[in-house]
C-alpha cells in the first residue's frame, strides 16, 4: 500500500477527529464531566418531585452541592475569591460557564436556571467594573459559598407594565416604568415593583434597575443592589409556572426601601447601558439551556424508538436526523456567540432566538413521535416541552431578539454601516 493510499485510508477512517474546533481545554472538559455526573446522580432522581412541589420547597441542598463544585463562584474573578480568571472572559467569553449550564439543563432546565439566574444577577456587578461593589458583593457571594451557606443572586428589570420595553431600545424610551429611586443624603429611596424575577424569592443579593428621574425615564436607569432583609423590601406572589418549576419566579415589592449609595452599581444613569451589556452576555447561554433540554428530549425519543424497534426504519431515522441537524446548527451559533467577548448584540440575539425556536420545535416533535407515551406526565419529554417554551420568552421574547438583531446588524440598522459581507 502506497503512502497516499495509507493517508487516504487514515483520513477516511478518522474523518472528523483530526481537528475539532469545538474541543475544550482539559480542565473545562473535566468540569463538564463532573457536573454531568453529579446532575445525573443527584438531580435526576428528584427532578419529578422538584417539578411537582415547586412552590412548596426550594432545593437548597442542590444549591449547596452546586456551590461546593463552584457553580456559584466560577464566574467571579479570583481577586474576589472566585474561581474565574479575568482573562478567561476575554478569551472564551461565557462559553465555559454556559457549557456547564447546558449539562444541568440536560437533566433539569429549572435547576439550570437557578444557577443561570444567579450568574445573571452577578453580571451587572462584574460588567460595571465597579471595584467597590465587586469587593462588597462578589466577595460576599464567594465567602458564603465557601462557608456552606450559599447566597444566591437575582437580576430584576421586568415590571408589570414594562416587560419587553425593558429589553428593547425603542420601546424603553416610552416604557411605563414603575420603579423609582429618589436620591437622598447618602442613600436612595426605592419604590416600585418587579415581576417574574427568577430566584427573586430566594436571592440574598438582587441587582435592581430603577429610574432616578421620572422625567428622563429609562435614560436615568441606575443599577442598585437590594439585599434581602432591607426594610421595605418584600416578596409578593410566587408564580405558578407551566415549566422550569424548580426555579421560582417571584414578584418583588419595594416600599420606601433605603438603599445606601454604596449599593449603587456603576454611576447614576448607567443602568440602560449595563442592562443591555448584561443581556447581550446572558442571552447566548439561554440558547444552551434550550438546547440542553432538546438534547435530552431527543435522547428519550431515541430510547423509545429503540424499545419499540423503530430505529432501523428510514422514516424514523429521517425524523431524528432532521432534529439533530437543527440542534447541531443551533449549537454552533450559540457556541460562537458565547465565545465572543465583548458580546455582539445581533449574534447574542441570533443565538438565543434560533436555539430556543429549534429546541421548541424539537421537543414538540419528540412528543409527537412518541404519541401517547410522549404526553404522559413523568416521562421527561413532556417536561422538556413545557420547560423549553420559557426559553422563547425570558431574557427578551424572541420577537424582541429580532428587533435587537435588526437594531445591531450591520447594514440593517440606522447607523448607516455597510451591509455585512461574509
Amino acid at each position: 500500500m502506497s503512502l497516499r493510499d495509507k493517508l487516504l485510508n487514515f483520513l477516511y477512517t478518522h474523518r472528523g477527529f483530526i481537528k475539532d474546533p469545538c474541543r475544550l481545554p482539559r480542565h473545562v472538559e473535566k468540569k463538564r464531566q463532573e457536573v454531568r455526573h453529579w446532575a445525573e446522580e443527584e438531580i435526576l432522581p428528584v427532578v419529578e418531585e422538584l417539578d411537582r412541589r415547586a412552590k412548596e420547597e426550594f432545593p437548597w441542598e442542590i444549591v449547596r452541592k452546586g456551590a461546593e463544585i463552584g457553580l456559584l463562584t466560577d464566574l467571579i474573578p479570583r481577586t474576589f475569591g472566585g474561581g474565574g480568571r479575568l482573562l478567561d472572559f476575554f478569551r472564551h467569553g461565557t462559553l465555559h460557564g454556559a457549557l456547564i449550564i447546558e449539562e444541568l439543563s440536560k437533566v433539569c432546565p429549572g435547576v439550570a436556571v437557578i444557577f443561570g439566574a444567579h450568574m445573571l444577577g452577578l453580571l451587572p456587578i462584574l460588567l460595571s467594573m465597579d471595584f467597590k461593589a465587586g469587593r462588597r458583593f462578589l466577595s460576599r457571594v464567594t465567602d458564603a459559598a465557601r462557608s456552606g451557606k450559599p447566597e444566591l443572586c437575582a437580576f430584576a428589570i421586568t415590571e408589570p407594565a414594562a416587560g419587553s420595553d425593558a429589553e428593547d431600545t425603542h420601546g424603553a424610551r416610552r416604557a411605563k416604568l414603575l420603579t423609582y429611586a429618589k436620591k437622598k443624603d447618602g442613600y436612595y429611596v426605592l419604590n416600585g415593583r418587579k415581576c417574574f424575577i427568577s430566584n427573586g424569592s430566594v436571592a440574598s443579593i438582587i441587582t435592581v434597575f430603577a429610574a432616578t428621574d421620572k422625567e428622563k425615564g429609562i435614560d436615568s436607569w441606575t443599577c442598585f443592589v437590594v439585599e434581602r432583609g432591607m426594610k421595605g423590601f418584600s416578596v409578593g406572589r410566587i408564580e405558578d409556572k407551566m415549566g422550569q418549576r424548580a426555579s421560582p419566579a417571584a414578584e418583588l415589592i419595594f416600599e420606601d426601601v433605603k438603599v445606601p449609595s454604596a449599593n449603587r452599581v456603576g454611576r447614576e444613569g448607567e443602568g440602560w447601558k449595563l442592562n443591555l451589556l448584561t443581556l447581550d452576555t446572558s442571552r447566548p447561554p439561554v440558547g444552551f439551556i434550550a438546547l440542553g433540554a432538546a438534547q435530552h428530549a431527543v435522547r428519550k425519543g431515541l430510547e423509545y424508538a429503540e424499545k419499540e424497534g423503530l430505529l432501523r426504519d428510514r422514516h424514523v431515522q429521517h425524523i431524528f436526523a432532521d432534529m439533530l441537524m437543527k440542534i447541531e446548527a443551533a449549537r454552533t451559533v450559540v457556541w460562537r456567540a458565547c465565545s465572543t467577548f465583548p458580546p455582539v448584540s445581533w449574534l447574542s440575539a441570533t443565538a438565543k432566538c434560533f436555539a430556543s425556536d429549534v429546541a421548541m420545535d424539537v421537543c414538540s416533535r419528540v412528543v409527537d413521535f412518541m404519541g401517547d407515551e410522549g404526553v404522559k406526565v413523568g416521562n421527561e419529554v413532556e417536561k422538556a416541552f413545557r420547560d423549553v417554551k420559557l426559553t422563547q420568552i425570558y431574557e427578551g421574547t424572541n420577537q424582541i431578539q429580532r428587533l435587537s438583531f435588526a437594531e445591531d446588524y450591520p447594514g440593517l440598522n440606522r447607523k448607516n454601516k455597510p451591509f455585512r459581507v461574509f
Partner: protein
C-alpha cells in the same frame, strides 16, 4: 328552529354561562364541577348525540357533532375529549349492535388513544384492540389499572389497562369498520383542537388590544398583526378542513385531523408567545390551551405518524 340549532344554542349558552368558569376546577379534578357537566349532558340528552334516533338517541351527523365538540373545546378541551371518548364507545357498540345503556357513560381505548381517557364519572370502557372489542367496567379500571396523568387534558381520568383487568368480550369489528370509526373519532378530536385554538386566539387578540409596549397597544405593531393574522388563517383553515372532512371519507378525516392538530398547536404556541411572561403562568388560560393542544396533537400515534399512515395504507 331545527333540532341542531336548538342543541347548538344550548351548547353555546352552557359554554358561556357555566363551562368556562367550571373548566379551571375541572382541570384540578373537582368532582362537583364534572358532576355539573354530567347533569347538563343528561338534561340536554347530548350524551346520546351520536346514537341514532331509532335507538333512542339524538342522531346527530358528523358535521353537527363537530360543531358541538368545537364549541365545548373552546371552554374545556378536557370535557370535550372525555365526551368524545364516550361517543367513540357508542360508535363501537352501535356498530356491533350492542344495546347502549342510556344512563351509562362510556369511554374508549384504541380509537382516540391507546389509553382509556374518560370523564371521572365513567361507568364502562370500550376497549378496541386489533379489531377485538371488550367491555371493562369503570370500577375494574379504577381498581386494577394504572392511572396516569397527561401533559394536558387534565382532570380527565386516564387509565393504562393491564392484564389484571377482567374484560367482557363483546365481539369483533372488521378492519373496514374499525378504520371508519377510528377516522370519525380522530376528526372529531380535531374539532376539539380547533375549538381550543379558537379560544386561544380570542384571548391573544384581547391581550394584544390591551397591552401597551413601545408606547402603543401591541396590536398596532406590525409583527403582532402578522402573528395574529397567521393564527387566524390557521384556525380558519383547520375549521374548514375538519368540517369538510366530516362529510368526506376516511382519508380526508385523517388528513384533516393531522393538519388541524399541528396548526392548532402552533396557534396555541403563538398565543402563549404573544402574552409573554403572563402566557406562561398558570393563572392565564393560554398555558392550559397549549398543553391541551399538544396533548391532542400527540394522542394515539401523533400527527407525524398519521400523515405517513394515510399514504401507507393507500399503497396496501
Amino acid at each position: 328552529m331545527n333540532l341542531y340549532q336548538q342543541i347548538a344554542g344550548a351548547v353555546e349558552s352552557f359554554v358561556k354561562r357555566e363551562l368556562t368558569e367550571l373548566s379551571a376546577d375541572m382541570e384540578k379534578g373537582d368532582v362537583d364541577a364534572w358532576e355539573r357537566c354530567r347533569k347538563w349532558l343528561h338534561e340536554t340528552v347530548l350524551h346520546l348525540a351520536p346514537l341514532s334516533e331509532e335507538h333512542g338517541g339524538v342522531g346527530l351527523g358528523e358535521q353537527e357533532l363537530c360543531g358541538v365538540l368545537l364549541e365545548l373545546g373552546k371552554a374545556s378541551a378536557s370535557f370535550a375529549v372525555a365526551l368524545l371518548s364516550h361517543y367513540a364507545g357508542i360508535y363501537v357498540l352501535q356498530s356491533l349492535n350492542v344495546t347502549v345503556d342510556r344512563n351509562m357513560f362510556y369511554a374508549s381505548a384504541g380509537l382516540l388513544s391507546h389509553h382509556v381517557i374518560a370523564a371521572p364519572f365513567i361507568h364502562n370502557a370500550v376497549v378496541v384492540e386489533a379489531g377485538r372489542v371488550e367491555l371493562v367496567t369503570g370500577d375494574q379500571l379504577r381498581e386494577r389499572s394504572n392511572q396516569v396523568a397527561l401533559l394536558g387534558l387534565q382532570g380527565c381520568s386516564v387509565f393504562v389497562t393491564t392484564s389484571d383487568v377482567h374484560a367482557k368480550e363483546l365481539g369483533e369489528l372488521n378492519l373496514h369498520e374499525q378504520k371508519h370509526i377510528y377516522a370519525r373519532v380522530q376528526n372529531l378530536l380535531a374539532a376539539v383542537a380547533v375549538g381550543n385554538a379558537m379560544d386561544a386566539l380570542r384571548i391573544a387578540e384581547g391581550y394584544a388590544n390591551e397591552r401597551y409596549q413601545g408606547g402603543d397597544v401591541i396590536i398596532r405593531h406590525g409583527i403582532v398583526q402578522e402573528i395574529l393574522g397567521r393564527m387566524k388563517a390557521k384556525v380558519l383553515l383547520s375549521e374548514a378542513g375538519v368540517l369538510k372532512a366530516a362529510a368526506g371519507g376516511t382519508e380526508d378525516k385523517l388528513m384533516a385531523r393531522a393538519l388541524a392538530a399541528v396548526l392548532c398547536e402552533e396557534v396555541c404556541v403563538d398565543a402563549v408567545q404573544l402574552l409573554g411572561g403572563y402566557g406562561y403562568m398558570k393563572d392565564y388560560v393560554v398555558e392550559r390551551k397549549l398543553r391541551d393542544a399538544k396533548t391532542i396533537a400527540a394522542l394515539d400515534r401523533g400527527s407525524t405518524a398519521l400523515f405517513k399512515q394515510v399514504i401507507e395504507e393507500k399503497l396496501l
